[in-house]
């Protein structure tokens, strides 16, 4: 019988980097909430394929609708927003990020921190690895009637990035994106400024990859999924390409070096995880509305996530990509093309296989998200392939990103407990 679901403690333990990260994310909301006074122009864009280094060249402040939805999910306010959007005719079948965003707008566009989210001066539609993005910003444009820059990033269907793809993206940057930003912001594009921002990115990316790969240690000093979500915050959003991000990842790295030195496990909301029993690789985004409850189901069992694909949606840096100031626009193109969901299924499968092997994981857990076809369609096939190739057991749970109606704690917990038992059995059998 499944153990009862215990509510997470209300006392949350955080290390210094987490506090720093939170302050950074909050500061962007402050900036957004203050544009009426500051006069800053506002650019909306997505996490995968975001062009933060470029946007900063035009002195604009970035708003990330996905991040708003996530933050609203974590604060348990997304459910009402989703239902508000459904009331306005948005189908129950489609992405809940979109509906949380539209619902927030319909309810007065007050952001997760209680500050107003300003209207966009430009929508940067970076169509990277997710079809829904295209419709999402058409929906926002329909309401805001504002400038929209479309950047079509070709899908790497054959598993390779070709010169033609890079040229196509670069041309769009030159002929579509940059001129529109110059027009909206009134700021002339300065390629040297972009180079400087890209140099900051590359520095931060080095430390970020080191952090991710620290999970190869035993015990792992980090949780690369639940903890990883905090780690990706600055580099996936408004801070990539800034010295603040460079500083954040240095701080984080120092903290983790210290944990490795002391042989410590990851910090969970209830303190250090002492006994690493299971090393898991995850595929798919997490559930945000019950994230602590979800995480607790892992750390209570001694399960740590050593690698996750979700922390690669905003860039697959651990496979070698770095922003390159010497090839600024080409580098931005390659970044977009490299994002996780822009990779084809065989490549994604190979990536999971390599994580299982390189991080000496016990198995693969897929958290399949009802809202996200970009991730979800094909995951059952990937699961079979990874099991076949690695011999490690895999499990499949289903939740949603920010719709609380699709998180069934008892079902998920049951599955996880069965899964961990399966790993035990495999171990006993010497697999």
């Amino acid at each position: 019988m499944s153990a009862p679901i215990r509510k997470p403690s209300t006392d949350v333990q955080k290390d210094a980097s987490m506090a720093k990260q939170k302050a950074m994310i909050d500061s962007n909301f402050d900036r957004l909430g203050n544009v009426k006074n500051s006069g800053e122009k506002v650019s909306y864009t997505f996490v995968p394929g975001n062009l933060n280094e470029l946007v900063m060249c035009f002195d604009m402040v970035g708003n990330y609708p996905e991040i708003n939805a996530i933050q609203n999910g974590l604060r348990k306010t997304s459910g009402g927003m989703i239902m508000e959007a459904e009331k306005w005719g948005h189908s129950e079948d489609v992405c809940t990020y979109v509906k949380a965003d539209i619902g927030m707008m319909r309810k007065g566009n007050i952001g997760p921190t209680g500050q107003p989210i300003p209207e966009p001066d430009i929508l940067m539609l970076s169509y990277t690895g997710c079809y829904t993005f295209l419709k999402w910003f058409e929906l926002l444009r329909h309401d805001y009637k504002c400038e929209t820059a479309m950047l079509h990033v070709p899908y790497t269907g054959d598993g390779v990035i070709t010169k033609s793809m890079i040229d196509y993206v670069v041309k769009q940057l030159k002929e579509e994106v940059i001129p529109k930003y110059e027009k909206v912001s009134g700021v002339k594009f300065d390629i040297d400024r972009l180079r400087q921002n890209l140099a900051y990115s590359a520095q931060a990316e080095d430390d970020f990859v080191w952090v991710l790969e620290s999970a190869k240690n035993k015990p792992s000093p980090i949780d690369a999924y639940f903890g990883g979500i905090y780690y990706i915050g600055p580099i996936f959003t408004a801070f990539r390409g800034t010295d603040l991000a460079v500083d954040y990842y240095k701080t984080l790295r120092t903290e983790i070096e210290e944990r490795i030195r002391k042989g410590q496990g990851p910090i969970t909301p209830e303190g250090e995880m002492k006994n690493e029993k299971y090393r898991i690789v995850t595929e798919g985004p997490p559930n945000y509305t019950s994230m602590r409850e979800f995480w607790k189901m892992f750390y209570d069992e001694g399960a740590v996530v050593v690698a996750s694909t979700y922390t690669k949606v905003g860039g697959t840096y651990d496979f070698g990509f770095r922003h390159d100031p010497s090839r600024p626009l080409e580098s931005l193109a390659e970044y977009c093309l490299n994002c996780y969901t822009n990779r084809n299924l065989p490549e994604r499968t190979r990536m999971l296989e390599s994580y299982i092997n390189n991080y000496e994981a016990d198995g693969l857990l897929i958290n399949s998200i009802k809202s996200c076809n970009s991730f979800a369609a094909g995951e059952l096939m990937m699961m079979r392939e990874v099991e076949k190739r690695t011999g490690k057991p895999a499990a499949f749970v289903e939740t949603d990103l920010v719709d609380p109606r699709y998180f069934s704690a008892a079902n998920v917990k049951n599955r996880l407990e069965s899964y961990f038992q399966m790993i035990d059995q495999k171990r006993r059998a010497g697999v």
Partner: protein, 387 residues
């Protein structure tokens, strides 16, 4: 000349045949022939034809295919067409296909291309990207490259080069096919009682399965035969159907809408057969011609970005006006991202134009028609009574 019933019966037979006997027979008729399957939306069939191959539309398994294995590959919240397509593959119904193309219609079909690669690494499977930037020197250039990648992929299968002459010949044939399809639609819009939507659907569906040369003859014969008949005209409401461009509704659903009192005067089933709104030129480089026509004369549909907000959704108002329709039925497959995400915008545009509309969802194996009939019937009645 065949009668209308004979033509429709033949098309029904093609539609019902989940073993693709006709395409198999075409392939077996001559050594060295190849068949290339493609998923819905748009692929340049001209290139496949010019390579001496048969383009074969794979539009799911319909309501007659029992999906067993396919369901094991998909979660419940994913539409039905990929699972029935996997079922067709795993039950060897598609074992004669030499290649598969997956157009960029949505994330599900996109990911299906990767599944195909994993399941059948021995068969050519290609994700066919189309540009979302419509400038000739940007999206156009990229698209020419994509067209050439496709051409080279097919050349590897056939072992022979695709010449410009062959391409121009194929473009001419498909120009004719698109022209005839538009004539067919025009004929139905003018006299819908002579050309029921279920028949038009079957005629178009046949075009996914047989050589274009035969399909051109078939459309012509149908129009001529149907025009000569005297069929009773009903006091139906004239509607446009929107949102069914990928997973296809079961034929009974199409019939049910008509039986409920609607004449469908335009629809978006199988857009590939009328994707271009003008002829593709044959007096220039064929790849440039296909590319630029795609950029400048494609139909409007949800999988393609509309750069101009001022005209977003206007195509639906235009088709309502041009075809004398009185309302729009949004019929989308369950979990269809493009159709369902687009729908609120289209509904808003229709509201501004004071065009009534109604919405429902289906899947290709929907069996219960009564709710559809009630909804469509109430909509038709409301148009008659209140519009």
């Amino acid at each position: 000349m065949a009668t209308r019933e004979e033509i429709v019966d033949r098309c029904q037979e093609l539609y019902d045949d989940l073993n693709f006997t006709s395409a198999r027979a075409w392939k077996d008729a001559e050594a060295g022939r190849h068949v290339i399957g493609f998923m819905p939306m748009y692929v340049p069939r001209e290139i496949i034809h010019a390579a001496g191959m048969l383009p074969l539309g794979i539009l799911g398994g319909g309501d007659q295919l029992e999906v067993i294995q396919g369901d094991a590959y998909y979660q419940s919240y994913i539409c039905r067409i990929p699972r029935s397509t996997i079922e067709l593959l795993l039950t060897e119904r598609l074992n004669f296909v030499d290649g598969m193309l997956f157009p960029s219609i949505c994330d599900v079909i996109r990911n299906l291309s990767g599944m195909w690669k994993l399941l059948r690494p021995d068969v050519y499977a290609h994700y066919f990207d189309v540009p979302q930037n419509y400038l000739r020197d940007v999206g156009g250039e990229f698209y020419i490259h994509e067209l050439n990648v496709l051409k080279e992929g097919l050349e590897k299968i056939s072992g022979r080069k695709v010449t410009d002459e062959a391409l121009k010949n194929s473009i001419t044939l498909y120009n004719e096919n698109r022209k005839l399809t538009r004539e067919l639609y025009k004929f139905r819009a003018e006299k819908p009682w002579l050309a029921p939507s279920s028949e038009i659907y079957l005629i178009n569906r046949a075009g996914m399965l047989i050589p274009v040369e035969d399909h051109n003859v078939l459309i012509r014969d149908y129009i001529n035969a149907a025009r000569e008949e005297d069929r009773p005209k009903r006091d139906n409401s004239r509607v446009v159907l929107s949102g069914s461009f990928c997973e296809q509704p079961p034929l009974n659903l199409i019939k049910s809408i008509e039986m409920a009192g609607c004449y469908v005067v335009d629809d978006d089933y199988m857009l590939v057969n009328r994707w271009f709104t003008k002829e593709v030129p044959t007096d220039c480089d064929p790849m440039e011609a296909l590319s630029y026509t795609f950029l400048e004369a494609s139909v409007k549909m949800p999988s393609c970005f509309e750069p101009n907000e001022d005209i977003k959704g206007q195509f639906l108002v235009d088709t309502v006006r041009e075809n004398g329709a009185e309302g729009v039925i949004f019929a989308a497959a369950s979990f269809c991202d493009p159709a369902l995400l687009e729908r609120p915008i289209l509904q808003d545009v229709l509201n501004l134009a004071e065009i009534p509309h109604v919405s429902f969802k289906y899947s290709e194996n929907t069996g219960q028609m009564q709710p559809i009939r009630e909804q469509a019937g109430t909509f038709a009645d409301s148009i008659k009574l209140w519009s």
